[in-house]
Amino acid sequence: MDYFTTDLTSLHEKLVNKDLSVEELTKETFKTIKDRDQQIAAFLALNEEAALKQAKELDQNGIDPANVLAGIPIAIKDNIVTKGLRTTAASKMLENFDPIYDATVMEKLAAAQMINVGKVNMDEFAMGGSTESSAFKVTKNAWDQTKVPGGSSGGSAAAVASGQVLAALGSDTGGSIRQPAAYNGIVGVKPTYGRVSRYGLIAFASSLDQIGPLTRTVKDNAYVLNAISGHDSRDFTSSDREVPDFTQGLDGDIKGMKIAVPKEYFGEGVAKDVKEAIKKAIKTFESLGATVDEVSLPHSKYGVPVYYIIASSEASSNLQRFDGIRYGFRAQDVKNLEDVYVRSRSEGFGDEVKRRIMLGTFSLSAGTYDAFFKKAAQVRTLICQDFAQVFSDYDLILGPTAPTTAYGIGDEINDPITMYMNDILTIPVNLAGLPGMSLPAGFSNGLPIGMQLIAPQFREDTMYKAGYAFEQATDFHKQVPTIGGQN
């Protein structure tokens, strides 16, 4: 199956016209995965038997011409629980964990008749930006296999970018969908906080986590977000607002759209090649009839420290449940119950997870709570207010997704601070609960550069509309990496 030259709509047409059966498509997809993933190492588990069974049933019942997603394979990040299918969050802690229920997004994908082909790699418990903290394997960037795929949804991004699937689900707590999408030259969307149910997403930081789609094109992305959005009584932070059809309004017409470019997003940490690509993108938007102004988000430089306190504090609380008793890893040869807790956690968690649990526990502990957690939660308010101020005058905020293109495997894993600073452009979006999109906006030395679009809460439609217009005016999304000597 050549996913490099197809999109959801064209594939759907083939399935409806019976040029291709769902079973053939599914078989071809597994063939491609088994071939290309030897190089990319994105998948942790394949769902072959169940996928083929579902494919045959769909062929028997016929494809609904009105459902673009019917019979389309999708890959799932391994922190989204899948009933009966091994779900590890890329941690030794959950190495043998087989969930007894499906996440709400899995129920929704099943209702949309999408086919889950397997679980993809990530940073352990979604903590990291390179997928290198996975306990199981090192996933490679689709464009250069000596580079990281980004993270934490690195497996999702690399699987899509290497043409193994057309779509994947990821999760984004501080940039974990957008940054790997940028590093791999694809489209990644973190929806508004509350747009998509978090029920069945293994929790990292509950006030920041959101599930979202990674795809090759803007329109494909909108189709998948349509399917997974909506209120869920099992996640009371999910919104009961009506979900619009995000594929509507993709007409390339953005005349009069008001776009703000924060000057802080072009700071000294942002590489020259990235700045140049985004400046060119701004020119493209202007040529399409949008107005672009420079604005200021004065507190954005505090995003990284605020995030690491808040996310780590929430993580230290969420990860208390891993105690070796009811499920997950249990240490052997323990003397007493306390020993089960301490040894299971110490042996089951990797270093990055431990660092965050430690920072979170420290931030919440007596004597430091006011100076750390409370202070961070107050500065978070100021970051939210910065955005509200800009959005009172503008439709959209535009900037780079990540300060650089993908870096080398092994380059940063020993330096937490450098790694944390990579998130400076994506983190504020999570802190304010806004929707954000990364889409291809250029290349430097053969590596993709991502542009980030940020919209007001629940205005994903604006983001998709602008993203689509930009995509139609450029050809970055049409370029594909060389995998196994082919492209």
Partner: protein
Amino acid sequence: MAISANEVKHVASLAKLEFSDAKLQKFTGQMDQIINMVQQLSEVDTTDVPVTTTVTDAFNVMREDIAVKGTDRELLMENVPERKDGFIKVPAIIDESEEG
């Protein structure tokens, strides 16, 4: 030094984690760097600024108090590491190596 090895050890005990001495040294250095980084927040004036702990507009979501069937017991036990006679097996709570 914003944080000492002893403080890190104390935080580890709160978090139910333990580290070898070499790891503790490495972690202390990294924690120290991270704490220095986050301390730049002290330069922000937050007098009378309220905290933000959630960004949802939902507040106290209620549901009807209707009894529903719970999850099957056997199913719930599926991922238990050690079990016996339908219970979760754990080591003795009292340290067996201690006199008592």
